[in-house]
Symmetry: C2
Subunit: 462 residues, 2 copies
């Protein structure tokens, strides 16, 4: 039975994929920049997603938790449940002048599709749609129910997702699921992240005089820059070495299996990264497995922005009234961002900046992860090797952040990855693109993963 | 003879001062923002100044040294020579929305005159013009020749003044002279600076990757912020204490006479400054004479601007490609800014930032000063007490900077101060203003200083 479903699903995809390029074009054409559009403007995107799902047979609903609308849908009856998470919102397209075509128009060129969101994350929605439609006639036979949640605030930190997850907790519980993404490496290996770091984004503002003052008075009037730089220089040294213990508070070891996954990562990609970025070495001269451990398994702290006084062209002589730093902290599994925030504030006080203003931007969320031993991970890894012709690269924890925790750990649905992007998809940047070849492979990969997962679950449950 | 000239000059001023308000209006109406206008646009201002001087009987010339034009004029035959230095350029008027009236229109309100440049420095040009016209009929009798130089680049660091001074060195040599400014304190005392600190303005740019990078890579990709903050924190501590010896290189002691002058400064003004600026204490808790010594006699170093990465609203997670700091250094007498610049670069290297880009903005110039024992200083101090009804406050060295050195020390013309501004003139800020009362007092003060100086010179030379 499974072989026959596989063969029919693959034929469906082969013969119909261009139809899905058209659907992707419809989605790209709706401006769903969550940082710039109102919730009522975003509704247009939510409704399009909802109607695309309805046309595929899903029972859908557009939910409102006070932010941008969330679409949920269900197809099939189970008993095996597969959850899919995606987002229909996109990053701002700016700077527009660097795009070779209109970001809100899907353009096909040299085997690639260009447009804002093609890789992140509209292309993944459509590839998964194709996979599900290919399987739709056989879902009962497979015993699979698909549950799909598509939010509209991922690019702004998913502020209302926790509320939705709280309410939908039971519904979101599934035997396995797909997180939003995955992409193809330079070597052609599908990269599947099995977790994401958390996020805590703070802005520290130190004040001096109540206005900018002529810098002739510098011998007397306090300049908040000196206090800020002293504080920052106690967080990391000039070589990027972390100097604070509290950053590691509560972290748990993901175990030898995580390190085993790192050993399978193509280390040349790190060398390629250095070349692309024009840097001679990484922080502290890190290389190889040690570099990967720092990148994927350790919490990070970074200054994303720094400002004080006159930053225009040429010169102006002022003692700045304020000096500020935007700091992003990415917790790893086991760490509580609320607690890290308290420790951060305690550290500020210890360093004499108890009077500084501290603003938290966006949502604070913990890291989430899925164990590589989960069936959904095994199913997706095995089928990825068949579809991509080379074994996938499993990352125990992405270096980036996402609200993965809520579904993988708070709800408890093990998640794997699948995706249409590649190493040069320019996610969040101008000329975002995917290769049509990868688009089709991802459709196949998702379809085969669901079949394989159903097979495994049948075996284990009887 | 001197008494009669005095009395006639004072009557002239009393009866004619409103005529000079009209002249000031003409000058204010010409936009001479040196930072924004081209040299040919600035010519309009130079020509107006030149024609105002010509109308007063001056033999004038508009000179070009490659930058904004410089006006020079001469009246009388000597043998006693008095030099006047002013500038017709002004600071940008922005932010325009904070002005209560058009900055380029002279508006009279409640005994005050508002407009860009009324205090800095057009009002001083006109007050001195009134003084000179009041004395014009008696210059031969007094044996005085007035030489006037009015440049158009003071607000942008006088980049071509050194060239002009080089060429005009002999002509600029005089028995005494007036620097551009002076202003009335809260207590009504005329503040006369007897020197100005120098200027060295550098921007240090530290580079990391060749573009901003997603901060998920923070464990590996070098962030130039850490290098920059480490460097800056080695210049001053969090309490504003200078940590570098090289900043004092070459400085000479202005002697006990400088300290004596500081003792005569109204210390309440420092307390008032704290109140106005909303600060509880000065750097290192400095107070009283110690605070004045730091403010007026010590070199200063300050961060006027600091920038890296994302500085807009909210959050963005990037490892900045560059981090920069704009640093202003104000040398004191004896210090060579070129040498300080070399020491700064050596210090950068020692601190591991030898690869940083260093840009010098504007002209680099040394501090200049005049001894309080000079006749022109004595003459102006004595007449200030008569005109203002309270003895003036002589500052051995202004906390601010100016190209005073070129004339006072390179050429060797002792300089004093005189000016129309007061403690709340909002120089460089919106609603720049002067009090009409001060405008008239300054006319009288300049006229009486010239007469007094002539009297002293007659005595000493014969």
């Amino acid at each position: 039975m499974f072989e026959e479903v596989e063969s029919k699903a693959l034929s469906f995809i082969e013969s119909r994929y261009r139809e899905y390029i058209r659907v992707l074009g419809e989605l790209v054409a709706v401006d769903t920049v969550s940082a710039q559009r109102s919730s009522s403007e975003m509704m247009k995107g939510a409704q399009l997603v909802s109607s695309i799902l309805s046309n595929a047979g899903f029972r859908t609903e557009v939910k409102n938790y006070g932010g941008h609308p969330i679409v949920v849908g269900e197809l099939g009856d189970g008993p095996i449940t597969v959850l899919i998470y995606n987002h229909y919102d996109v990053q701002p397209p700016e700077p527009l002048e660097l795009w070779d075509s209109n970001p809100f128009e899907l353009v096909e060129r040299d085997g690639k599709l260009y447009g804002r969101g093609v890789a992140d994350n509209k292309g993944n929605i459509v590839a998964r749609l194709a996979a599900v439609e290919a399987l739709a006639p056989y879902l009962d036979e497979l015993g699979v129910k698909i549950k799909w949640i598509i939010e509209g605030e991922e690019e702004i930190g998913s502020p209302t997702l926790p509320k939705a997850v709280e309410e939908l907790r039971d519904w979101l519980k599934a035997d396995g699921g797909f997180w939003e993404t995955g992409y193809v490496s330079r070597k052609g290996r599908l990269i599947i992240p099995l977790g994401f770091k958390g996020m805590l984004y703070v802005e520290v503002i130190v004040r001096g005089a109540n206005r900018d003052v002529h810098s002739g008075s510098a011998p007397l009037v306090p300049n908040p820059v000196w206090r800020l730089v002293k504080f920052l220089s106690s967080i990391k040294d000039e070589d990027g070495r972390i100097l604070v213990d509290w950053l590691y508070d509560g972290m748990i070891d993901l175990g030898p299996e995580a390190v085993e996954l790192l050993k399978d990562i193509d280390i040349e990609d790190l060398e390629e990264m250095k070349k692309q970025l024009g840097i001679e070495r990484f922080n502290m001269g890190l290389e190889g497995l040690e570099a990967l451990k720092h990148l994927y398994l350790m919490p990070s702290i970074n200054v994303s922005g720094l400002y004080a006084g006159y930053i225009g062209k040429g010169s102006k002589t002022v003692i700045p009234s304020i000096a500020g730093a935007k700091i992003d902290i990415r917790p790893v599994p086991g760490q509580d961002p609320e607690r890290l925030f308290k420790l951060f504030k305690k550290f500020l006080e210890e360093k004499g900046l108890g009077d500084a203003e501290v603003i938290v931007h966006g949502a604070m969320y913990p890291a989430g992860y899925t164990k590589p031993s989960e069936d959904i991970v095994k199913a997706s890894a095995e089928t990825a090797e068949r579809v991509y012709g080379i074994r996938p690269q499993l990352i125990p924890l992405s270096a980036g952040s996402g609200p993965y925790y809520y579904i993988a750990n708070y709800v408890g649905t093990p998640l794997t990855g699948a995706g249409v992007g590649h190493y040069d998809s320019r996610v969040h940047a101008p000329n975002e693109n995917i290769r049509i070849e990868d688009f089709v492979k991802s459709m196949k990969h998702v379809a085969l993963t669901i079949i394989e997962f159903a097979k495994m679950k049948r075996k284990t449950t009887g």
